[in-house]
């Protein structure tokens, strides 16, 4: 038997957008799953870079006002390993 191991694209956390109208019980466990319909991960070092510069390059929280979303994002070298 041959085994293949494939690494997935490296990434910190980012914004995922789901549409509640897509709810469908894919795995038939009685709980509908929402499908992701969009995302935002375009800031520096968030995806596709392993290893990234020291620090956290991840989204933390988002708030919405009218048609604008405001996301807090850790984009600084908040810690360093020794």
């Amino acid at each position: 038997m041959k085994v293949t191991l494939k690494a997935q694209p490296p990434s910190f956390g980012f914004l995922r957008i789901f549409d509640e109208a897509t709810a469908e019980d894919i795995n038939e466990d009685g709980t509908p799953e929402y499908e992701q319909v969009g995302h935002f991960s375009d800031l520096a070092h968030v995806r596709g870079e392993f290893k990234a510069p020291p620090g956290f390059w991840t989204i933390h929280n988002t708030e919405v006002l009218d048609e604008r979303a405001y996301a807090s994002w850790s984009g600084t070298a908040s810690w360093r390993s020794t």
Partner: protein, 198 residues
Amino acid sequence: MLKFDISEPENPILEGRTSYDPGADGDAHSLTPYDAGGTRYILQNDEDGFNLPGVLASTSVTGDERYPAVQQFWAPTLLSRGSLASGLLTGRAHDARNGCFGKRYVGAKNKVVLINVVDPFYAQQPCGVGKQVLFAVRAGAKAVMLNLIGPDDPSRITAPDARTRSSSTRKRGESPSSRWPRSTRSPPRSGPDCRMGS
């Protein structure tokens, strides 16, 4: 992210959940709903403090099935770095079973060694993972896959299903071990996924 009907607070009802594609970390931290055009969207923040790439494992006898795995920080070589910058590793499998004795690793040279590991958080281990990995290293293993046996098996955590929506046939609660070929003599109770290093 889980959505509950709390019209009766003493009896919350789970109405829905967000899901992830195979290989995604799944670090849901917080969310905010957004209504637009008669549709409710969920803006979900996946806070993740480290970008160590996840891994999908497949075998020549399980077809399109893909089993989620996580890399170990302490592995001397990580996929996506150095000589493995392509992020791809392929090799013949060697089943070391519980991997607690040197004889389990005879013939493991240049192979991907499969080892069952009992999660020490829930049960006493027959031997430690460090001992198992050292056996594999000394035997010349190309890579090591540790099959974590316990409630924290990633194949359960990554529900609704490790496989894609279109190809999924496994139901929640059904272990992928039933699809792990008997010919490998691998007895994983919870699937050939979990921890790997190379």
